[in-house]
Symmetry: C2
Subunit: 382 residues, 2 copies
Amino acid sequence: MRIVILGGDGYLGWPTAMHFASRGDEVLALDNYLRRRLARDTQSEPLLATPELPARCARFAALTGKHIEHRIVDCAEDGALTRVFAEFRPDAAVHFAEQPSAPYSMRGHDEARLTLRNNIGTTFELIWAVKRAAPQCHIVKLGSMGEYGTPDIDIEEGWIEIAHKGRKDRFLYPRAGGSLYHTSKILDTDLLEFETRANGLYATDLMQGPVYGHCSDEAKGDETLFPHFHYDDLFGTVINRFAAQAASGVPLTVYGKGHQRRGYLDLRDTLQCLALVVAAPPPPGKLRVFNQFTEIFSVLELAERVREVGRQLGLDVPIRAIGNPRRERDEHYYRPAHDGLLKLGLKPRWLSDDRLASMIEFVQRHRDAVDRTRILPRVSWV
Amino acid sequence: MRIVILGGDGYLGWPTAMHFASRGDEVLALDNYLRRRLARDTQSEPLLATPELPARCARFAALTGKHIEHRIVDCAEDGALTRVFAEFRPDAAVHFAEQPSAPYSMRGHDEARLTLRNNIGTTFELIWAVKRAAPQCHIVKLGSMGEYGTPDIDIEEGWIEIAHKGRKDRFLYPRAGGSLYHTSKILDTDLLEFETRANGLYATDLMQGPVYGHCSDEAKGDETLFPHFHYDDLFGTVINRFAAQAASGVPLTVYGKGHQRRGYLDLRDTLQCLALVVAAPPPPGKLRVFNQFTEIFSVLELAERVREVGRQLGLDVPIRAIGNPRRERDEHYYRPAHDGLLKLGLKPRWLSDDRLASMIEFVQRHRDAVDRTRILPRVSWV
């Protein structure tokens, strides 16, 4: 298959590019290095300086004999994606080209404006590239479980039948995000739902939970092929950050009571999900939504898991509760459905002590590179 | 009160400016003449060439002794509104600064891109102007009844309690628009809901139905103070367009079966609603939503009303069914709540034969200016 990856330089985008290329697909990775720039601007560079796309693609080709094509392009630029699609004619487009940090989006006006314009802009231009140059292309967009918030009823997979005053109808599940970033993902979903319905597009929206892991199998242990590993408060997701904190002697910072429950998944399961989704496009004209995670943990449970694995590695890992810088409930009902991907064939990897240990050991090897000043929350929006 | 009107040159914006100024409020009208430009670009100029803001404000002052301040500014421009708000310190901001045409938004990529960027951009900059320069300012945003689409259950006023699997919670009413324009209004609502909740803002969102009428009372019959009267397929709303068709001998073009039902209101009732809403701000932190219309008609009922009033004026007004250029159901359930504004004190003006006759006569006086080539649909998205 011909697969284009928007945001192909990112934490998920790069492993996805390797994953499809390893299977023999023709892969085109697009990126404008926005995440790299934002990380520099906010003193949030990843643990290791990752090579840029040309060097990564060359290294991957040398190691595996597989080719990943790449192009440096701003996917939100007027018409740029349409030109790429007219040439490459993708069968599927995996869309990761968004500013992914909730705290970054809450820093101030400029960060919020960038997040909104970039995220809606890339989705908009992707839709038009498909409509104008590749109408059969399956759009696979990354959404967020955070779009749903934490309602007091069960979270369904994207859609819900509502019975009301003796009648009923089916609707996009109502959403209420906790940050400007999450709101931008809601806007994305609304836009893609309309365009799919109005134009008979093939589209899947993946409501993903936080991902953990420092590498995927296709990197074959070569650290130059690992994705950006962020352990900072802005771009680091919680399990990766906790692993880095354990490895570098920084107490695990649990926000608030730590009873916030979320659905998590291993980076390698993200790749598994994407492969399953791309292999089975939905019928045209109706947005398909999957809730993409494998296990639910509270933040406190995660901290205790990391502490225990640290102990096995001979590390003393204290847990420290700090005021929650985010506007979110830390006691809440949480029962999100996640059957769709299991039915497609997903075989979950549960969060294991081995995976946590390998993440901690990875950071230990690069312990000198850890900047301890960028772990505590630098943005608050309570 | 100090009231700023975003889009103060528009069909609703200008009468609103006159309405508040007549009551003695301090009014600042902002506009960048976007609608004028789009009308020129698409051969959709209004029936009469309306004077620009400086001339209108001067004429209004000469006629009434009341002052309307104006400024030519792009409300979506980075930081522009914040500078205006820091100086003017409004008590209320009425937000009409959006591209308002569904067919225009469906013409192609460039029109869709402009609609999305302008409409979300103005709402975003307004929110930040309030947060940064006037946190007590009540945001009154114009939404659209079209955000709801035509679901098979009752439409509530913005929010709905959903009972699901033995539990319940309250949500923004799920929305599904029928055009890119309506989708942009949904995105607007989502964004304003989040920002209101996250920042304790005072905000009201008015889900308005199509408005009719060629003038408001404050113009005192002076046609230079009438708002843009659009009778074309892009910017003309249905009752205004039918009045123009009746006056100029163009058969009334009913789209599809004509059984599409919508809630309508008189332009003067829009002004009444705005005055009631501005006088009674909601508590902070929760977006208040009103469904703003007074009566429900099907398109066919409207055509028959206009034909009958035309007959009384000695006009032969044929009705002609044409293929629906819009993607919408023409047989559907429709029962939208609209109690909120009545409870605030709204006294509806029902659609009267007199109002229709005065609209038809207005167009008859300017019959030579009617361009009959811009009445039939020029954009289709079925």
